[in-house]
């Protein structure tokens, strides 16, 4: 595992831990920063240099001619010695016999030799890596600014004032939200839930279609802003996996820099604007916000209370006698100890237990809910990517491979349209080709099949002319089949097979 990732993981864990201890606005911001960290360009370029440069890994680059193994060479193979090969690998016995220096290809015993000689190369390589000067400078600048912000009194006071204003803004929003959220006692939840679900689905669609990082960032921003400004805090067990998922997604699929810069700038702008628009707090706002908080916390309690406890309403009385359970008989001393215990009291008396099963189930459900809407799109994308890769082989340097790939595509088209002839040799397919194809299609198909046979079975090279012919055949097949397909088949061709773009 890469060191930078370990550092990042540690930071993330630390901030999550902090979140557990103190769930306030400041911690949330820290957490947000932790999640966003790999995407703040200057920081990333310093702390995650390999990710940023994407250059060859040092180990791989260090391989010199002697250690470079091509795919055809396997352990135990013998090949002539070339300058640069380690002397230890020379097969003396065989070399004496053949009157030519031969070496054994790498066997596990000889591997350490390669290892020791490799070190200086990799070290030399690492030194040569150019330092990303602007990135380092900007990071240093950020650090300096932060230091000045903390140390210079004037700046510090200004910063505190800004923070106060932010807080006031948050209060004001809370107050507004209280007015907004004042609703009759028994509102109909159904339309809202439906609309929210629709929104979620649409968001999922959007996330799947756009390959960029924007959706993930959007969700993240919504969550964080919702928390910071509305106090709409989800319970920690929802938030932490959510952050984890988002962070993981971003680590796996790094966002492109433009979008990130835009996002960060937006966040900064929003913060500045709110700080400027709400210069201070007044008593009315404060009071309103207090009310709003009460209301919100009550709602939160209601929600979480339902999840945590059995439905209320039935207060059942039970006679409990501690000894009667053991002996099954009553005696005079203990008879007096009968008393009435309500469910509430019993609950208090019971040791507090953590319902791990429920928590794990909920976590799993959350994960599933986060993944499921994306799953079909991920699957579709995977198929599309595969198809695209298959098409990449058409331009392969080796015309034989290319002809095979092209012909494979032709066969896939025919089979997708149920025009294949199954386990028949391809040159015999010509007799079963459907009507509606161009006039000389069967002959061309046969020729291409023969070319493909040549590529598969012979040691001949395939000419560019043959590749062009195959490509033309594929084009004709595509157009003819697409024309012949009905809507359902086209859907199948496009999304299931990934044949048509």
């Amino acid at each position: 595992m890469k060191k930078s990732r370990i550092v990042y993981g540690a930071w993330l864990l630390l901030s999550i831990g902090l979140y557990f201890f103190e769930n306030n606005t400041g911690t949330r911001v820290v957490l947000l920063c932790a999640v966003l960290f790999p995407f703040i360009p200057p920081l990333r370029s310093v702390l995650l240099p390999r990710k940023e440069t994407g250059g060859p890994e040092p180990r791989k680059a260090a391989t010199v001619r002697g250690f470079l193994r091509t795919e055809t060479e396997e352990p135990g193979d013998i090949r002539p010695w070339v300058p640069g090969d380690p002397v230890q690998r020379i097969h003396w016995k065989l070399s004496a016999k053949k009157d030519e220096l031969l070496i054994r290809m790498g066997t596990p015993e000889t591997e350490p030799i390669a290892e020791t000689e490799e070190i200086p190369f990799s070290a030399g390589r690492r030194e040569k890596r150019p330092v990303n000067l602007p990135a380092v400078l900007s990071a240093a600048g950020i650090l300096l600014c932060a230091l000045l912000l903390a140390l210079v009194p004037a700046a510090r006071q200004g910063f505190q004032e800004l923070c106060n204003r932010l807080f006031a803004a948050s209060e004001a929003v809370n107050a507004y939200s209280y007015r907004y959220f004042s609703v009759p006692e028994n509102p109909d939840l159904f339309p809202a839930v439906c609309l929210l679900c629709c929104m979620g689905m649409l968001l999922a669609v959007w996330a799947a279609i756009s390959r960029g990082p924007l959706p993930a960032l959007g969700i993240l921003a919504a969550c964080t802003l919702g928390q910071v400004y509305f106090g709409l805090a989800f319970p920690a067990w929802i938030l932490i996996p959510l952050y984890g998922l988002l962070a993981a997604r971003m680590l796996i699929r790094p966002a492109d820099r433009k979008a990130l810069t835009a996002f960060c700038t937006l966040l900064l702008l929003l913060t500045t604007l709110t700080a400027l628009l709400f210069p201070g707090t007044d008593a009315a706002t404060e009071a309103a916000s207090e009310k709003a908080r009460d209301r919100l916390s009550r709602i939160t309690e209601e929600i979480t209370g339902i999840l945590r406890e059995a439905p209320e309403g039935e207060t059942e009385t039970r006679h409990i006698h501690p000894r009667s359970l053991e002996n099954g008989e009553e005696n005079a001393e203990t008879a007096l100890e009968f008393r009435l215990v309500t469910v509430e009291e019993e609950k208090i008396a019971m040791p507090h237990s953590v319902r791990w099963l429920k928590i794990i189930l909920l976590l799993l459900l959350t994960a599933a809910a986060a993944i499921l809407p994306f799953a079909p799109f991920m699957w579709l994308n995977a198929r599309k990517r595969k198809a695209r890769e298959a098409r990449k082989a058409f331009e392969s340097d080796n015309a034989g491979t290319a002809v095979q790939a092209i012909f494979r595509q032709v066969i896939l088209w025919l089979e997708a349209m149920k025009q294949g002839a199954g386990n028949l040799l391809y040159r015999d397919w010509t007799e079963r080709l459907p009507a509606g194809l161009p006039e000389n299609y069967p002959e061309r198909f046969a020729r291409c099949a023969a070319d493909c046979e040549e590529a598969v079975y012979s040691n001949h090279g395939i000419t560019e002319e043959q590749r062009r012919e195959a490509l033309a055949l594929l084009k004709d097949t595509e157009s003819a089949m697409w024309k012949a397909a009905n809507r359902r088949q086209r859907f199948y061709l496009k999304y299931w097979m990934g044949l048509a773009e």
Binding site: Q404, A416, L425, Y426, E453, E454, Y457, S458, N459
Partner: protein, 318 residues
């Protein structure tokens, strides 16, 4: 098809019409240096065909009618005391100087004679009194069998059948072919018009050429899968032997060569499969309602063909 072989075909066709496919197969076997088991009724032109073929290629030909009293020494030759010198002198047998031997009713010969012939077929040499005498090259045996159950026959053991490269059948001519044959023979015998189009040496060169044909991994894989499948088939008592697999490869190579290719395709294997393997498998007692031909066809149908496998292995399938 190679022009020189096409010429042989044309010459041979002068005497035996409408049997192009069989002649082709015989030519293929000749190129593959294998022997042929003919499964035929009398009078369909086996000898005529063989004579025409030998004339077209300039080979020497001999026909041996096997009977129970043909001895191994009749084939291989024997040593006898020369009266004048008092030494043993080798007297060559029927196999001496023969390129194409037509052995009629081979299953009427005694087991001893059969094994002597089969040894000669396999080794292309005969050993008499510890001395080895090589046979002519090329050496091709076309053997015919009497139908099973006829009196006085020694069934060819299964292990010896395995030594024949292919089992073919000429079959009766159709209407057109027979009319043509009758018409041709009104005047002179058309066998006299067959010209030599190839020398023996050239044929040997072509046989060498067959050996240069490449069978790449997909083809070998296909042959192996076919033979393995035949050994597991529920209707077969005995599947295709490893020798069968070797012969399949060799015959496929010869066919590819005949087609003018220097590589074997899956089609070659499929084409020669039935001919090479039909006499190598044994049906089970309880599977008599199917025929060997059906079973082999089923094997070809069920086994994934190499075209497909080569194209789709490692890639997504439907």
């Amino acid at each position: 098809m190679r022009p020189e072989l096409e010429k042989i075909l044309q010459e041979t066709e002068k005497v035996i019409a409408g049997k192009r496919e069989v002649i082709r197969k015989i030519l293929t076997a000749l190129l593959a240096e294998g022997h042929i088991l003919l499964d035929d009724v009398p009078g369909v032109g086996k000898t005529t065909l063989a004579v025409a073929l030998t004339r077209a290629v300039g080979l020497s030909f001999r026909r041996v009618q096997f009977t129970p009293d043909v001895l191994p020494s009749d084939l291989t030759g024997f040593s006898m005391v020369d009266k004048n010198s008092g030494e043993f002198v080798y007297r060559p047998g029927l196999l001496k100087g023969v390129n194409l031997l037509l052995g009629d009713e081979i299953n009427r010969a005694s087991s001893k004679t059969q094994s002597a012939l089969l040894e000669a077929m396999e080794e292309r040499q005969v050993t008499v009194d510890g001395k080895t005498y090589p046979l002519e090259s090329p050496f091709l045996v076309i053997a015919t069998e009497n139908s099973v159950g006829t009196a006085g026959t020694q069934m060819l053991p299964y292990a010896q059948m395995d030594r024949f490269l292919v089992r073919l059948s000429l079959g009766y001519p159709d209407y057109e072919a027979q009319m043509a044959m009758l018409r041709d023979r009104q005047g002179a015998n058309p066998i006299d018009t067959v010209k030599q189009v190839l020398t023996r040496e050239e044929l040997c060169g072509l046989q060498l050429g067959v050996r240069t044909v490449t069978s790449r991994e997909p083809v070998l894989d296909y042959i192996t899968r076919l033979t393995l499948a035949s050994r597991k088939h529920e209707a077969l008592e005995v599947g295709i032997s490893p020798r069968g697999a070797l012969f399949l490869d060799r015959m496929a190579k010869a066919r590819a060569f005949l087609e003018g290719r220097d590589y074997v395709t899956g089609g070659d294997v499929q084409e020669v499969f039935a001919d090479v393997c039909a006499h190598r498998v044994l049906l089970k007692e309880n599977a008599k309602e199917t025929s060997v031909g059906q079973v082999l066809e089923e094997l070809l149908k069920k086994t994934e063909n190499p075209d497909r496998r080569a194209l789709f292995s490692g890639h997504r399938k439907l």
